[in-house]
Structures are given as C-alpha cells and as structure tokens.
C-alpha cells in the first residue's frame, strides 16, 4: 500500500488505447519517476490522478481515499499539487500575487468571501510567500508580471506555487523541459533539498535521464500505455526491455 495506488486503469481516446491496465503504487516519502517515450501515456496518467480525466475503468486511491469523480480543486485540497508540462501560472498577475494565491487556497479553502479585508494586511500570507520566493531564488522578481518572465522562471514559479501549499504528493510533468542546463541543475538541487527537508512524496515524469537518475528512488517505465517494468534505478539502467522500448530508441 502506497500513498498513491493506481489499479487497473484504462483510458481510451476514441480508438486509441492511451492507458491499458496501468497499475502503479507510489510509496510515501519517495521520489517515483515515470519515464517512457513520447505518446506513452504519461501525461494522460497524471491527468487521471488530478481529476482532469476520468479513467474508463480502474481505481485511483490517494491516502486510502478514491480521487475519482472529484474535481481538480477537491483533489488539490486533499493534498495533491501539480506542475504542468507547459507552465500554468497567472500571467496577468505579479510574481508575488502568484505566490500568495496558493497560500490563500491552503489557508481559506476552495472559496472564501473575504471581499472587505485588504491583501496588504495579510501579513502572514505575505511573509510566507516572500519566504517561498526566497527559497526559489526569485525574491528579486516579486513585482514582475509573471507573463514577462522566461520559461525557466515560469516553471520555477509554478514549482514554488505548488510547494508553498506543502502538498503531501507533488506531481511534476517534465519540470525541466525547455530549461537551460544550469536551471536544470538548480531544479535538481531544489527537489533534492525538498525531499530531504520535508515529508513529501514526488511523482515525476521526465525525459532527461540525468534528472531521473539523480532524483528517483523508484522508476516505472511506461510504453504504449502499459507499464513495462517498475524497479530501482540501478536495475532499470541494465534492463534490456527498457533499452529496447525507450533508452535504445533515444540513443
């Protein structure tokens, strides 16, 4: 029993079998990487975990409770935060505001009618947001419009927004895609640090093997919608099936 249990999940898009009989168990306080070639169904699987898609069959349990049929905001309130493959942030708002919103969401829940108080008086929220920005090395950008930042910075902001909620499960969809090498290494360091400092479970989809092997405690290889193998990193490297389906292909 892991913190996240996926059992017999199937998902079809028209005739296309995007996921077939996926079983996956993510143990608490580990980093679980999901790798696989393009179109393997990795993002589709993630979408089934956060309420964006509903699997045709199967079950998804988080911490012993089913997430199926719940809306994304309810699933987030259960403790799952998600980073998207293309950064999803509040482009029209400042970096600071972007950081405050998830903290408000954690404190006040899915809806609160606080229309008469001033944001400027929310010192607790402001302090926390500033601290997370500091942790993300983004404090100097706090007054910038989020949309005006580089793609790498947007990604870091999005990761920071998710972390500020102190989720129990963090889902990352290719967090280093499109990042420069230096930024990628920063992200690895950041995630390593988070993993050591907090009780957090991370499920990460990644193409960059450097990232995968620096972070993962456990790896699942997905190909054509089916999990091929699930094993520890050192065993994955040598696995012939994986080489054939994935590593061989990209080499």
């Amino acid at each position: 029993m892991g913190i996240l249990d996926v059992k017999n999940v199937n998902k079809n898009f028209g005739g296309l079998k995007a996921l077939s009989n996926v079983n996956l168990s993510v143990r608490e306080n580990t980093v679980h990487a999901i790798i696989g070639p393009n179109g393997a169904g990795k993002s589709t699987l993630l979408n089934c975990l956060v309420g964006k898609l509903i699997p045709d069959t199967g079950s998804v349990m988080f911490d012993g409770k089913s997430v199926l049929g719940r809306s994304p905001y309810e699933i987030n309130q259960m403790g799952i935060s998600r980073v998207f493959q293309t950064p999803e942030i509040f482009g029209d708002l400042t970096v600071m505001e972007n950081m405050m919103i998830p903290i408000f969401a954690r404190r006040d829940g899915a809806f609160r009618m606080h229309a008469y108080e001033s944001v400027a008086n929310e010192s607790g929220i402001i302090e926390r947001a500033e601290q997370v920005l500091e942790d993300m090395n983004m404090a100097d950008k706090r007054h910038m419009h989020a949309a005006a930042m580089s793609r790498g910075d947007k990604r870091r902001l999005e990761i920071g927004m998710c972390l500020s909620q102190e989720p129990r499960l963090l889902l990352l969809d290719e967090p280093t895609a499109g990042m420069a090498r230096a930024d990628t290494n920063n992200t690895i360091d950041l995630l390593k640090q988070i993993k050591e400092e907090r009780d957090i479970t991370i499920a990460i989809i990644e193409h960059d093997m450097h990232v995968v092997f620096s972070l993962a405690d456990r790896i699942t290889v997905l190909a054509q919608g089916t999990p091929l193998v699930e094993d520890d990193p050192q065993n994955i490297k040598g696995n012939p099936k994986v080489r054939e389906a994935y590593l061989g292909e990209s080499a």
Binding site: P72, E88, M100, A110, F111, M113, A115, A120, M144
Partner: protein, 406 residues
Amino acid sequence: MLGLNKKDATLLIVVAALTLCAPFILNPFPTGSAMAQFNAGYPDLMQRFIIFGIFAIGFNILFGLTGYLSFGHAAFLGVGSYSAVWIFKLFTYNVIPAITLSVVVAAIFSLFIGFVSLRRSGIYFSILTLAFAQMSFALAYSVLSNPKFNLTNGETGLQVYADDPQWFHRDSLPDLPHLFGLSMRSTYSLELGAWRFDFNAGYYLCAVILMIVFYLAIRIFRSPFGMMLRAVKSNQQRMNYTGLNTRPYTLAAFVISGMYAGLAGGLMAAMDPLAGAERMQWTASGEVVLMTILGGTGTLIGPVLGAGFIKYFENIFSKINDTVLHNWFAFLPDGIEDFVVFIVHPFIGKGWHLTLGLLFMLVVIFLPGGLVEGGQRIGRLLKGKKKAPDSEDPEHHPKETPHVAE
C-alpha cells in the same frame, strides 16, 4: 484612511470632491451665452451621470476583474426600477425602502441568472446573459402585463396612480419620492452674476451613494477576493489545480455587480417614479459595456468616466440642431456655411451615435486601456518620460484573455 492606502484614499477624495462640486464644474458657461448648451449641470443629467456611474462600477467588478462579459446587466437595472416603483405604489414614497428592495430583488435575480449562465464561459456566457435579459424584457413588456396580473404595466410603464394604496403615505409628505420628507426634486439655485448653479436633493443623494459604493469597490479590488477574481480572468485552470473553486467566486462577482445594477435602477426610479421595459433592452446592456471599455476596463475610476462621457454625449450632442450649427458658423460665407453644416449635420442631433461610435473606435484602437490610459499617458508626458510604467499595478494594464470553455 478608512483602511485604504494613500493612492486609493487620494482617488476617493478626488472623486468625492468632484461629485460634490459637480454643480459648479459642469456649469462653466454663463446662462444665456452661446456656450450654455454645453452646460451639463442641470439636476436631471447630473443624476444620470451618477446613476450610470454606479451601474458601470458594478459592471466592472464582473467584467473588469473576472473577464466575464455580461450582455444582460440592464435586466437587473430594470428589475431594480420596477421594485422601487412597487414600493412607491404600495407603501411609501420614501426612497430608502424602495432602494433597499431594488438591491435585494436584483441580488435574487442575478443569483439565479448567474447560476445558470456561469455554467459556460466566453462567448456562450455572454449569449446566455443576453438571452436572459431579452426574456426579462419580453416578460416586462407583455407577458407580465395583462388584466389579470399586471406587474409591469407593459408599454406604458409602471407608475404611481392616485388610487394606489400607498399605506404609509401621509398628506404632510411630498407627493413625490422623498427622503424623510425632503423631496428628491427640491433644488436650490444659486445665481452668481451671469452664472446659475443648481443644487438638487436627488443629485446629492445619488452622489453620497456613489461615494459609498465606490469606496466598497476599492475595498473589493484590493481584497483577497478581488485578487481571486483577477486570477479567474488570468488562468482558471491554474486556479482549479490550486484548490480553488472558481464557480462561487464568479457567481459572487456576478451577484455583486447585479446588486450595483439594481441600486442604479432603484435610484433611477427614486429620481423619477416610473419604470419601463425599455430599461431592460439589450441596447441598455450594451451601453454599460461601452461605458466600461471606453473609460478603462478593470480600472477603478474608468467606468465612472466612461459613463459620464457617454451620457454627456447623449444629452448634449443630441440637442445640437441645424439652427445651432448655422449660428456657430454664421461667420463663414453663406455657401461655405451651408456646406460645413451639411458635413457636420450627420454627427449631431439624432446622429450623436455616429460621433460616439467614431470616438469609441478611436479609443479602443489607440487607447486600449480607455480614457484612464489616456490620462496616464498625459500625466507621464507632463512628468517627463523617465518613469517607466508602474509594474506594481497589474489592473491598470488589462489584457484580453479569452475564456476557453471548460
């Protein structure tokens, strides 16, 4: 001051000063002078400035913050007017209960319409609100006006008749809407040399209410709730995956803006105790959209400016006729005079819509931030161009973000 930061407090004080001194500011030309027809300081028009200002402030809370473009807000204005007139007919000419009921009824109405319409976003939301408003118009115009059940008095419009019950009316009170005995029509005229300034009770009631609701709008803009509404406009997907339910946020914004519209409708009836179905027509809904965009969507003061601008044009330009034009251009040789009048003619009188349309196009194309942006540009020119645009003020740089249907 009042829990506002310095900038907002200054804005509030400026708005208060302008509204309180409006009878002076709007009557700059001596009565009887050739320019007197550009004076806008008569009670009827000043009241309208304020009332439509309130309407637009409320509309902007929905449209400016969340980006949801309603094409049916005139329905709430109309509902507000009908509610107020019913209070006048049944109970009393005192405007307080009338205005209160306008706001309450508009809130209930907008809760229902918003609940249904907000199931969709983008263009579908706009069409749904338009459909509701046109249904309300049809109801008011004919369906709810028949001998058995006459709620709206159809084409004629709802008004107060001598045989209406008016249970709480006493003979000592004015036979017109009043505030604890002070008639809304009572006006004190100050003659200063060639100038005349009108101080009207109804206008000042509207002005005080405007200041209150403008203050509340500032509070909403600066609140966590207001920030959430801007987040809705920016990225609903991110909101959902951040644990926020967007539906109640948008619904709350919709109801608040509906209440502002109802308040405006109630005040209209309080200034002139009748209500007609045409107040709910789609052209009226479109007008408030124009006001908001013209003034500056998502800014605090923009909608008020836009409302004033449009109402000024409607009332002043529409009154200029050919005789007036001939007077102005009398100094020109006859043939040229006729020619100039011929050219200008389509843009005045009934043609004021044409002028307004042209101005609207110019503003939207060259000043996407509306009159407020124009003001800011002028301000920057005056201050010297060194200062970069304020990046701390996101709502002053509204961007078009289309709502993708969920």
